[in-house]
């Protein structure tokens, strides 16, 4: 079966992606640089944008910013709200402990 030009290109990209996914593991171990093909078949290179060190630096910088601080505060509120929900599991009614299960 002959594949169309676009299908050939997609097939080649899928093969490349599999190879690069394998390579990415090794490269990421050896250094902070990597090359991979994303699930959407767009090529990601070892630019600063995809450098984990650079990502970490940008993340920490953002956390220190006013926007980051505001976001952290919102996050704390959400954590408290979840804690309150989970605590409902401990709201045992002591008067019910002696009520028999009779049905």
């Amino acid at each position: 079966m002959k594949l169309s030009g676009r299908k050939r290109k997609v097939s080649a990209l899928i093969v490349l992606r599999r190879i690069f996914e394998h390579l990415r593991l090794r490269f990421a171990t050896a250094s902070d640089h990597f090359v991979a093909v994303s699930l959407e078949c767009s090529v990601m290179t070892n630019s600063d944008r995809d450098d984990p060190r650079e990502m970490a630096r940008r993340a920490i910088e953002w956390l220190k910013s006013a926007d980051g601080q505001k976001s952290i505060k919102e996050s704390d509120n959400r954590i408290k709200e979840t804690a309150a929900l989970l605590a409902k599991g401990r709201e045992i009614d002591p008067t019910k402990l002696h009520e028999p299960f009779t049905v």
Binding site: D50, A56, A59, R78, I79, E81, G89, E99, V103
Partner: protein
Amino acid sequence: MSTPAFEVFPYSLDCLVKLISEGSHHKPEDEVRLKSHTLYFDHYLTKLSVKALLVERDYIDRDFLEDFAAYYVRCFPPYRKTCTRIHAFRRDLSRDAVKAFLSGDDTKLKLEEIKSAYLGFIVIKPLPQTVIGRTCLTTYSDRSTRHFPATRDFEANLFGIKLKVVNTLPFQEQDSVVAACATSALWTLFQATAREFQHQLLTPIEITRAATHLLPTESRVIPNQGLSTHMMAHAIKSVNLEPFLIRVAEGKVLHAAIYSYVHARIPLILGIDLVEQNTGTNYDRMGKHALAIVGYSLGGVPTPLSLSGLVLRSSRIDKIYVHDDQIGPFARMELDGKRVEVQIPGQPVQQYDSLSTSWKPTHGSGDVRAIPDILLVPLYHKVRLPWEWALQRVTEFNEVLVQLSKIVPDLKLLGLEWDVYLTTVNEVRDDLRNAANIEAAARYSAVTWSMPRFIWRATAVRNDAPLIDLLFDATDIDTAHGLLQVVFHDALVRDLIKNIAAVGSIDALPFKRTVKNILRWVKENL
């Protein structure tokens, strides 16, 4: 003429009714036919494609024998001490072929044919009303969304033939004399925990005695009218397990708590208020009932636990499977989100989350629903840290991933699904050894890392593949960080976290203590 040791019948509802009636103490067939268990078993056995029933007469059942010795032997009517056991097979059988096999001639029937066709058994007690004794039936083979972690393989011996009931957990009906619903539910629990945690296996009468031993009651204990939560907790303590009580009136708490423990092969007691439809959403209370939860279905749509957006795999639970002594084994209850309006004594009329049941209404045509109240978890004493302790830590770490997703959206750290449950070191090691995306050195390190027997495992799942595993010590004290390991299944995410941990002082980062501990661990060990 003496009764034959066994008989074989092709399966039909009429045949089942006849056998239950014969095995009981003169219970008429008409009454047997109307019994909810009979209808449930007919549906269940049909779904299992049962073709033949083999009836074993004069079967001695240990549980009934203890009950008989404690109560029935001193009754004026002459109750028998032996039971009838009905074995179910998914292939046609003939009495001649089985007889020939038992006589040493396997030309008509091979041992493997008998073993592979075996689906389980039902013991019929020689009592007037409550006749369903120890019952082990395998679960349905369709496992697309159904999960029965609390089941095990149980053995049955038929005239020396070693048969196996796969994926089951024993069930029996309360006899309302030495055992009430809570006793039957506890009995089912202990069938699983005795194997899991190696404790003594109690019979129904022993459970009732253990539950009431230290609790002075205003009335007699046997005939038993029902156990309270307090009494059930005592019964659990009597086998050296720790009862852990959770209130589950809140639906999300119910989902998360069930998943956390049943995944660890521990069946749970669910205490409910049964309510019967009066008009519309208005229901009348029938009373309190106890069940054993043995499985769940993950066929629902995942929903966030709260505003935090934390999505738990447990939120997919749309049905639970219970041993309901008034219905049958593996009875389905749907968590369909329907709310009912009812007055529970001591409370004003209000709306409650409810579950569907297989109960038939006592009057009219309305349905009978269950309002969940409590979960009682039988835990090994070393499982000290509870489910919400683990979930709180996951919430805090997930919030950091939410923050990071704003800076690195390509990593898709937003909307991860967290699979949080109690497990054991051996299961974690076995799973990590077979994980697809961990490098050999990291895998070796994770598998050989020193860990305690009980672990809270939280796996972040992205696009159906594990991304990060957080392993916490379930045996620690709750003021400790409890972190054992962090296992990354994605090298890029690992390197991002490593680099965050490597930048300056971790204490200076605006994160919760749990997250700082995770970063410290990553910094020191990866």
